[in-house]
Amino acid sequence: MDILVQIVTCLNRTANALGRYLLAPIGWLPGWFSMTIVSAMTGVLLLVVFKYTSNQKAIRRVRDKIKAHLLEMKLFKESAAVTLRAQGRVFLSVSRLLSLSIVPMCVMLVPVCLLMAQLALWYQSRPLRVGEGAVITLKLGGCGESSWPNVIFETNPAADVVVGPVRVQRKREICWHVRARQAGYHQIRFQVDHETTEKELAVGDHYMRLARKRPSWNWLETLLHPSEKPFPPDAAVQSIEIDYPDRASYISGTDWWVVYWFVISMVAAWCFRPWLHVSI
């Protein structure tokens, strides 16, 4: 698993470098607009990738076969035997078509995951507004019986602690309720025994690239939360999470952005198919 985390971390580094600059316009564009542009562009891009990673000739051949079988069904609809045989062949051809897209799917899987993780940084949550509160949860490593380190939330101009620290014994978590004070990106610091640990906090009322969680040493968590470095496996702190508010929008809001992204990218790919001469 160690190696997997290292690979994901390495990929994240590239994705972050690209995402930070290529997706930067999201920060000043209206959400619906940026979401539509990003979705349409990914649709077209994926189409191009599909074109060069799939066997286009074979796909065209299978599609022609399907057309022929459908015609056969139409012409001989009185003959049950012919219709049934044609139906079976259509089914087989569709399966063949699906198997032909396995290679391009595999090629696209990783970049799409990386892209979605980058988009989630912008759309899954909204930053805190000045004066707004949120819960920060610091999860400690170790097991139930191990002793608790001394954890201090360092005072900073970005956020005040309203309640906390409150210990959740069972989960080895420490929670604070903080209130944002200053707009911008801030590093909040925690003293854990004698070490200092950091987590980014985003405050503002526009679209900001924000990390809900600084992940633990786990490949999936690292993939889902690419923005900040995962904590090493032997660190006293396992993860730090900020409970940012949901963004309410059916286009560019929490959870819904994925649906919108999927629909628009599919529509865009479908529309650009004839121009790019791609058979799907």
């Binding site: 819960v135 309640v163 409150v166 210990r167 959740v168 014994q169 929670c175 409970d243």
Partner: protein, 679 residues
């Protein structure tokens, strides 16, 4: 917030202007009158403003004393201008009855609301809430454990519905028809909200609006010393919390899943993690964490209750909201959860007219109490809240109301604006005590101290009136009114026990109307707070009293006997007994009691008798924290009426307000109204 309100107002203005321009063009081509349809644009109000502020239960005696002492300068200013009168209340002076009088401009005979509780005579005294009734649906599709009701073709099942029982024509219908806009915030006696025919009327329902459990407010209380399992107590549920490694798991009970054949309540699981050292706790509910220090309240939290359906239908979700209040961390962990209110941003039932009105408010104000009763008097009566905790919670309700008033005023242009405050009623029920008699639950000094809160409340609301006067001066006609006044409630009278003692209700050893009463020995019974019913032949299922002479004789006898009841100290208990055949007129009297018992100040119907229970004693001390009331005689607890115009009428009553409001807008007073113009 201010920015969005400006945007909203300006958008409305733009829309209005466009509508006027389009209407003008249409008129020019002669087609306007056709497609503008029934909406009457040529109203007579010409930007007229009328604002009605309802302070439920504001008492004229206390108001007068405080005005004399210079403590209510703004109300005193109105009094100085000839704009103050005692306001006659309803028979009986109960809020649902009184507000319905206000709404119809006529008495209970026109609206058919006579008490909090009515009975079905055909089912021999089966009680139900008078304001609204839920009627069950018809037809269903049986699918395994589920019962689906589909109100479309080919099923055409009839869905269950809640119906407003108030009858007659509400006065805003006349404004609506005349094209005069009217907006009501938290109007009592109007749930579910009556529809607007012409689209000029908006209303957010108040008293009578249920919580998500379909009750008038059910808090949920979790404590280490709570009862095992969940125990229901009037107005609340108590549950024991068991901590393991400082974490406890519990469930918040939500609405019933009506899709199931055996409808069962839904619930939401939550975890409580306690940190004794920090004197605080973390509550985890539906993926959200809430941090609370001992003694602190959470903001409103959204809860999604999953209503399961058969596999082929996607599950439904009902949205509710609640606030958590951490009372104590250790040694006895105690957590109070408000009644689960309907989410105003996504209401599960219609609680406003039009439907979207409550969402418009929520867009600006976020989440807020939506149930009719917001001050949690039940929590105080049941000992879940201390006096101070109740005062604090009631204060939070008032703050929300003031924010709503702010919204209402920003949104208001012209026409009628009605705004309701419950604080003066529910705080008074729990905190009022204006003499040196022994208080039911407090020492003399405590009683004095908490009554001070009522005086402070009056002062705060006087400030609200001051703001309105500063804002509108004489550009708006202002009515500040209450539906009734207030009195101490020190002694309670069990009407049914009295009737049993005098042989009107049998058997002599019976304990409840719903368990062991012998109707063949019963001539009369009490139900609700002020109602007395004869067991009349031909009307009640098991009636024994012959209509006509026997009925008349027993009515006279009971009236005379009840008015002569004296307490142990010789004090009169009942001020007046009203015969409803004389007091009420109109077509909605079918469910009216025969007599309405009007108590003297200091007395009220006992807690037991209201719900048909009998006690050994007829007169008892009230031992509830609900220590003041207004369900006395109409003459004992009048309300207040203030206006920035001189009031000419010497003895105005609630029924006179609707006619006066219509008159302000230049509309005729309908013949169905009993009241007259007060100016």
């Amino acid at each position: 917030m201010a920015k969005s309100s400006i945007r909203k107002i300006s958008r409305r203005t733009v829309l209005k202007r466009s509508a006027i321009a389009v209407a003008a063009c249409a008129a020019g081509v002669g087609g306007g009158s056709f497609w503008l349809g029934r909406r009457k644009r040529n109203s007579t109000h010409l930007g007229k403003k009328v604002i009605v502020i309802g302070f439920d239960g504001m008492d004229p005696q206390l108001a007068r004393r405080m005005m004399d002492a210079g403590e209510l300068p703004n109300l005193a200013k109105l009094r100085q201008g000839g704009g103050f009168r005692q306001l006659g209340t309803s028979i009986p002076p109960q809020s649902p009855v009184a507000w319905a009088n206000f709404i119809n401009g006529a008495g209970p005979g026109s609206h058919g609301i006579f008490d909090f509780i009515h009975r079905h005579p055909s089912e021999q005294c089966a009680p139900f809430f008078s304001a609204a009734e839920t009627v069950s649906g018809k037809g269903y599709w049986d699918v395994g454990d589920y019962r689906l009701q589909l109100n479309f073709w080919p099923f055409n099942h009839k869905l269950p519905a809640t119906l407003l029982r108030r009858q007659g024509v509400p006065f805003w219908d006349y404004l609506d028809e005349a094209g005069i806009p009217s907006t009501f915030y938290d109007l009592p006696s109007n749930y579910p909200p009556s529809p607007s025919q012409h689209g000029n009327h908006r209303c957010l329902s108040g008293m009578g609006t249920p919580d998500m459990l379909g009750t008038y407010g059910t808090y949920q209380h979790f404590a280490e010393d709570g009862p095992q399992g969940t125990v229901n107590e009037g107005g609340g549920k108590r549950t024991q919390l068991i901590f393991q490694q400082e974490t406890a798991k519990a469930h918040l009970v939500g609405p019933e899943n009506q899709f199931l054949k055996e409808s069962t309540p839904t619930s939401v699981e939550f975890l409580v993690h306690r940190d004794r050292q920090a004197n605080a706790a973390v509550i985890e509910v539906q993926g959200r964490k809430i941090l609370l220090e001992s003694g602190s309240w959470s903001p409103w939290i959204r809860l999604d209750f999953n209503l399961s359906t058969p596999a082929f239908v996607p599950d439904e979700t009902a949205h509710g909201i609640c606030r958590f209040y951490l009372q104590e961390v250790a040694p006895n962990f105690r957590l109070y959860v408000t009644p689960i209110n309907i989410d105003p941003s996504d209401p599960a039932i219609q609680m406003a007219e039009p439907d979207s009105f409550v969402q418009d408010i929520s867009d600006r104000l976020g989440l807020f109490y939506t149930a009719g009763f917001q001050e949690d008097h039940k929590a105080l009566s049941n000992g879940v809240f201390s006096d101070d905790e109740f005062v604090r919670q009631a204060g939070m309700v008032l703050e929300e109301r003031l924010a709503l008033l702010d919204y209402a005023l920003q949104d208001y242009e012209d026409g009628l604006l009605f705004f309701y405050f419950s604080s003066t009623d529910l705080q008074s029920h729990m905190l009022w005590w204006n003499n040196n008699d022994k208080h039911p639950t407090r020492s003399e000094s405590e009683a004095k101290k908490y009554f001070g809160n009522i005086r402070q409340l009056y002062q705060r609301l006087d400030g609200v009136v001051g703001d309105l006067l500063a804002r509108y001066g004489n550009r708006a006609t202002l009515f500040v009114m209450s539906d009734h006044g207030f009195a101490n409630f020190g002694r309670q009278f069990n009407l049914n026990s009295y009737l049993r003692y005098h042989g009107y209700l049998g058997r002599p050893e019976c304990t409840s109307l719903f368990r062991d009463v012998d109707w063949s020995q019963t001539a009369a019974y009490g139900l609700g707070i002020n109602g007395l019913y004869l067991n009349l032949k031909g009307r009640e299922r098991d009636g024994i009293i012959e209509p006509g002479d026997q009925q008349e004789a027993i009515l006279q006898e009971l009236t005379q006997r009840l008015e002569s009841v004296r307490d142990v100290n010789g004090q009169q208990v009942i001020h007046h007994v009203h015969r409803t055949d004389k007091a009420y007129s109109g077509s909605a009297t079918a469910l009216a009691p025969d007599l309405v018992v009007g108590y003297c100040r200091g007395y009220r119907a006992s807690w037991a008798t209201c719900l048909g229970d009998l006690t050994d004693e007829i007169l008892l001390d009230n031992d509830s924290a609900w220590s003041a009331d207004h369900c006395a005689d109409v003459a004992e607890v009048p309300g207040v009426l203030f206006s920035n115009r001189t009031i000419d009428m010497a003895n105005p009553a609630l029924v006179d307000l609707a006619p006066s409001i219509l008159n302000e807008f230049g509309l005729p007073i309908p013949s169905s109204m009993e009241g007259k113009n007060i100016f």
